[in-house]
């Protein structure tokens, strides 16, 4: 089968790889019909995530058709069209039993601090991902769901991570009616988080980024006020000014490891890999939020230390909440929002590329060319 493979930092190619096979009785093999490139894939692409091995296939956002199921699979059968959450999880460990599906303890031998994720290095379990024609899906009775007939394929695709993560990020903010919410990052996750903040009763939603075309999307898609941090000497001061020097009630870090806006932080993290991530957005969040406020972190960071301003967070009495999204837990309510017309996830898709051109898709997304927000990958087999 054809699959995207990692060839080292800033390099990917499409290769012929062996077909995935059933390795556990509750596995399924899924033929991928659509995949997406996520902002967090760029952390792998840039070589930021330890134990990303040459030949690894990325891709944790995908939908497809069940080709084969293992002997103990009860809930799926060949031919089912499924959406697959990016979390790989057993459904039965201490953490899964409490709804913490992203923190499963039974699927990742390589690390206890993170669960299993498709196509996200051996640090996240060593599973190949869905930017390929076929993919192994462990615990088929637990993770995947049959896509409802009424749901558009591209909307389903975005529920597998970006949209669910953004919605989850807004929930982590514990927003109450009238709150001012500032979202750092106008990528897909930030845009979904901004949109979701209104569902929870926000009184103001502000989005901060450096890319004007993304801020324009924040205004049209998420009805947000926007600030381009590249146009200000100090974005934290602007956040204070716009909130009458109180600070926002809630700040959401939807950027993660490769945040920009501070040369030293960005270069030491993204270029030289001396930090697990450049916590610029997180530090801005800490300094922009009001005392007693809440920080939500859904931007992804690597496992190595990062220079976070914990002193300010402590002195301000902040609540810091964070996690990888337990995706499937979000789906029933998100499907209601989509059906009600509150949300159309696929509005953020800007590019569709065939799998064979995925290297150009990665460069375009990484370099922020052509007003790229979200890129969908279409495998050859379709």
């Amino acid at each position: 089968m054809q699959a995207m493979t990692y060839r080292g930092p800033y390099r990917v190619r499409v290769e012929e790889k062996a077909m995935p096979r059933i390795e556990h009785p509750n596995d399924a093999i899924v033929r991928v019909t659509l995949a997406a490139i996520c902002g967090s894939d760029l952390h792998l692409y840039h070589g930021l995530m330890p134990d990303t091995r040459i030949g690894h296939t990325f891709g944790h956002e995908f939908i497809g058709v069940v080709e084969e199921v293992g002997s103990s699979v009860q809930n799926l059968q060949r031919g089912d069209k499924v959406m697959v959450p990016f979390n790989i999880y057993c459904g039965s460990c201490f953490f899964c039993a409490r709804g913490l599906y992203s923190n499963c303890h039974n699927v990742n031998p390589n690390a206890t601090a993170v669960g299993g994720i498709y196509g996200y290095s051996h640090t996240c379990g060593g599973y190949d991902g869905g930017q390929a024609e076929f993919v192994r899906v462990p615990f088929a009775d637990v993770g995947p769901s049959v896509i409802p007939d009424w749901l558009d394929d591209e909307d389903a695709l975005l529920l597998t991570d970006a949209c669910s993560t953004g919605y989850f990020g807004a929930q982590l903010g514990d927003i109450v009616e009238g709150d001012t919410v500032v979202v750092f990052g106008a990528g897909p996750v930030g845009l979904y988080a901004a949109k979701s903040a209104w569902f929870m009763g926000a009184g103001r939603v502000i989005v901060v980024d450096q890319l004007e075309y993304r801020l324009a999307k924040a205004r049209s898609f998420a009805h947000a006020e926007t600030f381009n941090f590249a146009e200000y000497d100090d974005i934290v001061v602007e956040m204070k000014k716009t909130t009458d020097y109180l600070g926002a009630d809630v700040a959401i870090d939807a950027v993660g490891a490769e945040a920009d806006g501070n040369f030293l932080q960005h270069v030491t993290a993204s270029k030289l890999k001396l930090q697990g991530g450049s916590p610029i957005a997180l530090n801005w969040a800490i300094d922009s939020v009001r005392k007693g406020g809440t920080i939500s972190v859904v931007g992804a960071y690597g496992p190595i230390f990062s220079a976070v301003k914990l002193g300010d967070a402590m002195n301000k009495g902040l609540t810091l909440r964070m996690n990888q999204a337990p995706v499937k837990r979000q789906w029933p309510r998100l499907l209601e929002h989509i059906q009600a017309g509150h949300l159309k996830p696929s509005e953020l898709i800007t590019h569709r590329v065939p799998l064979e051109h995925i290297a150009e898709g990665y460069h375009m997304f990484s370099a922020k060319l052509d007003d790229c927000i979200k890129t969908v990958v279409v495998p050859e087999a379709n």
Binding site: R7, E23, I54, P109, G247, G261
Partner: protein, 190 residues
Amino acid sequence: MAYTAERPPQKVTSEQLRDLIPGWGSDLDTANRPAWPKERFDPGASGAHWDFPERQTPEGPRERSIEHRFLTPVFGTAQPTRGTSGLIRRFAYARFSEARAAHWLLLVAADRVDFVGSRATALLKGRPDNPISETGILSEVSRHGIASRMGTPRVDLRHSWMDPILVAAPWVVGGYLALRVGRAFISRGR
């Protein structure tokens, strides 16, 4: 404002927002928020029909974090450890916990060794890496690289000049080393 007791007044009232924004306030009630509370004990909710999953059979040694009691019942088999990078990775896993910087720095070092080794292997197998196609650099033309950067205040332009250096450095260093080895080989032959 911050210096007196009351919150600054809301610029747009909740009633106005409800009319303006589709779905505004529909999840005000935490009962409608699927991630609230964070932990909700409900072992039957996931679809799992086991107390502990059946174990996947490993086909060889499988590295694991020493913070795990045993190999997890299910695991990825995408790229088993191999060669020198594999030795480094297995040492990192066997010796250091996730809490230790040495664990992660060794894994990063192994990634770079794997990178160099894979270049040589690809060359020997007759499918050498192509820096043009693999970096996707041609999208600079097809996806308007110059126009995407002109006339914008993008701060990434301050450091993006480093990217070609980071991408090219392994090729330059590798080429230099190959040249040195080649010269040494030739001079020894004389």
